[in-house]
């Protein structure tokens, strides 16, 4: 068991995500920075998408009621085991009753606590991920709080092989103050003038304070729409369209005043014009972009998007190789 002493700012149980339920309005949820989360699971010998804790800005304090292996990956933050500071991206052997505490995030936004055997709360619709907005999954659909206890599964790897397992520092993802995101333009971008599309791609956007698991509001230039008579059922504002499905990673422009980039707890559809979709692996970078940081967009086509996707998978395969994991079945998850 993992016993929460103090929940932190917003710590939730997350896994690879809940897929196949978008059509009922249920977004995938799951770890926002999938790469760091997967590396964390590899470090402790789990399946890459085993349930873990996602920390936001300030971490929890917890105890384990038996011996265990624990790693903390993702955003940079101080981690202590019984008051002794320990490094991230390393599998630590903790003893029954040890107290693990995570401090304030220094760079990035989200960190992951993975534990050998994974967190074994009952799955809902095939996933243990927490979807806060509709109080679904995880622990009663909410963030963790003091006195919560989480069952731990049986470790999948011999404990001896985990001792001193650490990620080569050259493979640790680098967090940046300015992030470039690859985007496939389209969806309802026909609503925008050509000048606005060009300006969208050439501008630097600032991550606002309204940035959470549902979406990131970005501040930048105002969008201009092509003039038209609004079609029946769309609504009167030029940014309105007859309600459509919103892909995870899509950008919408309500009123033309701001851009909202939908993340893994996305609202699944609505009536604002969407103008393009950030490719899935780049959402990991968004997950670590803090308010005030900058993002830029680079338009790619589907072939370039697939190449980026394969490079990302190859990077994870390299991590697995470096940890001498020869059995990579299911590495790509989903």
């Amino acid at each position: 068991m993992l016993k929460i002493i103090q929940g932190g700012l917003q710590t939730t149980v997350q896994d690879g995500g809940r897929f196949g339920w978008y059509h009922i309005g249920m977004p995938p949820a799951g770890a926002m920075d999938q790469f760091s989360f997967r590396v964390g699971n590899l470090l402790v010998g789990n399946a890459v998408d085993a349930a873990s804790l996602e920390i936001t800005f300030a971490g929890p304090t917890f105890e384990t009621t038996e011996d265990a292996f624990v790693a903390v990956t993702g955003a940079n933050l101080p981690v202590r085991i019984n008051d002794k500071q320990v490094p991230q991206w390393v599998a630590h052997h903790v003893r029954k009753g040890d107290r693990i505490s995570c401090g304030q995030v220094q760079y990035g936004v989200r960190a992951y606590v993975t534990i050998a055997g994974g967190i074994q709360i009952p799955p809902l619709l095939g996933s243990r991920s927490t979807y806060l907005l509709a109080r679904f999954g995880g622990v009663e659909g909410r963030r963790l709080q003091a006195e919560d206890t989480l069952p731990i599964g049986t470790p999948g790897t011999q404990a001896e092989s985990l001792v001193h397992r650490r990620l080569d520092t050259r493979l640790v993802p680098k967090l940046q103050r300015e992030t470039e995101l690859r985007i496939i333009m389209g969806l309802c971008s026909y609503r925008l003038t050509d000048e606005t599309v060009a300006e969208f791609l050439s501008s630097t956007w600032e991550v606002s304070n309204e940035a959470d698991r549902v979406g990131y509001r970005l501040h930048g230039p105002i969008f201009k729409f092509k003039e038209r008579e609004q079609p029946f059922g769309a609504g009167s504002n030029p940014s309105n369209v007859v309600d459509v499905g919103y892909p995870v990673g899509s950008i919408q422009v309500p009123g033309g005043q701001e851009a909202i980039l939908l993340m893994r707890d996305a609202v699944t559809g609505g009536g604002y014009a969407t103008i393009g979709t950030v490719i899935q692996c780049d959402l990991d970078l968004v997950a670590q972009a803090e308010p005030g940081s900058k993002v830029r967009f680079r338009a790619v086509d589907i072939e370039q998007a697939l190449r980026a996707r394969h490079e990302n998978a190859a990077r994870l395969a390299m991590v697995a190789d470096s940890l001498s994991l020869f059995d990579r079945v299911g590495l790509l998850g989903q």
Partner: protein, 290 residues
């Protein structure tokens, strides 16, 4: 307009059939989506029908996106003639002009077009009604076709099955509210929607249903498998009720004993389009006999 296929990043395909809303088009989209489900294409995770478009989620590690688009176009062409769709007739009891909607509308009055009257009165005014009972009879007399499900779990876009000139329409709030009671029945644009959970929103507030349309606790047997009530292609029939029935249904819901009144029927779009009112009446009569 020819359907337009577009890539939504590396995992989604967006297919838009037209830019305006029509039921005829939505029937076609549902029929295409039901065929995609039946075909179980390798690599397709799911398809989400919407009002005049659909969104498909797939895994590009398992199917080439261009090849998938080609397959989707073939399904689109083969689904040209729709004989019938499976569609459920669902009874939704509604307490119109309820105290919670009025309280909420008053609280957010400064965000509304006309805070001197209730949202329901505002809808009556802009749709040319002077008698409240007459308005409620029009709003609840003909079922709503669920043309899309989403936003948050369980939200259903309901499009009343009447000719366009009889459609009740409503602008959204000038600025969205930050709060709406759970289970509020509302109207925005040409759509009726019920709020599955308490939260922000911009639709006009008109009533409350005692029955949940989303239940994360799984306490009601009819919602245990999918956690939500709506399925695209449902017909939701709103039934005006009074406070005493509202309260008695609430007690059943809270005790976990409430059963939804749902009748599965074959729906024939061609017959509907040929003889709208009579066809709906026939389905309603058939449902009442069940």
């Amino acid at each position: 307009m020819e359907p337009r296929y577009d890539f939504g990043g590396d995992e989604y395909i967006f297919v838009e059939f037209d830019i305006e809303m029509s039921l005829e088009l939505n029937f076609k989209i549902l029929s295409v989506c039901q065929q995609i489900d039946r075909d179980k294409i390798e690599g397709v995770i799911e398809v989400c029908p919407a009002n005049n478009s659909y969104l498909l989620h797939y895994n590009p590690d398992r199917i080439d996106p261009q090849r998938l688009v080609k397959q989707l176009r073939e399904i689109e062409h083969s689904a040209e003639h729709i004989e019938s769709l499976s569609s459920r007739l669902v009874d939704i009891p509604v307490l119109y002009d309820d105290p919670w909607s009025k309280e909420c509308a008053a609280r957010f009055g400064e965000r509304h077009q006309d805070p001197s009257i209730t949202n329901l009165e505002y809808l009556m005014k802009i749709n040319g009604f002077t008698d409240k009972d007459e308005f409620i009879a029009a709003h609840s007399g003909v079922p709503y076709w669920v043309s899309m499900v989403g936003f948050v779990p369980g939200t259903a876009w309901g499009y009343q099955m009447v000719p366009r000139e009889r459609a009740i329409q409503a602008p959204k709030y000038v600025r969205p509210r930050t709060d709406t009671p759970e289970r509020t029945v509302s109207q925005g644009g040409a759509f009726m929607a019920i709020y599955p959970v308490r939260g922000p929103g911009g639709y006009q507030l008109m009533g409350q249903t005692p029955v949940p349309i989303y239940d994360p606790t799984g306490s009601l047997v009819d919602l245990r498998e999918r956690y939500i009530l709506a399925i695209a292609g449902d017909r939701w029939k709103l039934r005006p009720i009074e406070m005493d029935e509202f309260e008695s249904i609430r007690r059943e819901v809270e005790a976990g004993t409430y059963r939804y009144k749902i009748v599965e029927q074959e729906f024939r779009p061609a017959e509907y389009l040929r003889d709208t009112d009579r066809y709906l009446k026939r389905l309603q009569t058939a449902a009442e006999r069940c």
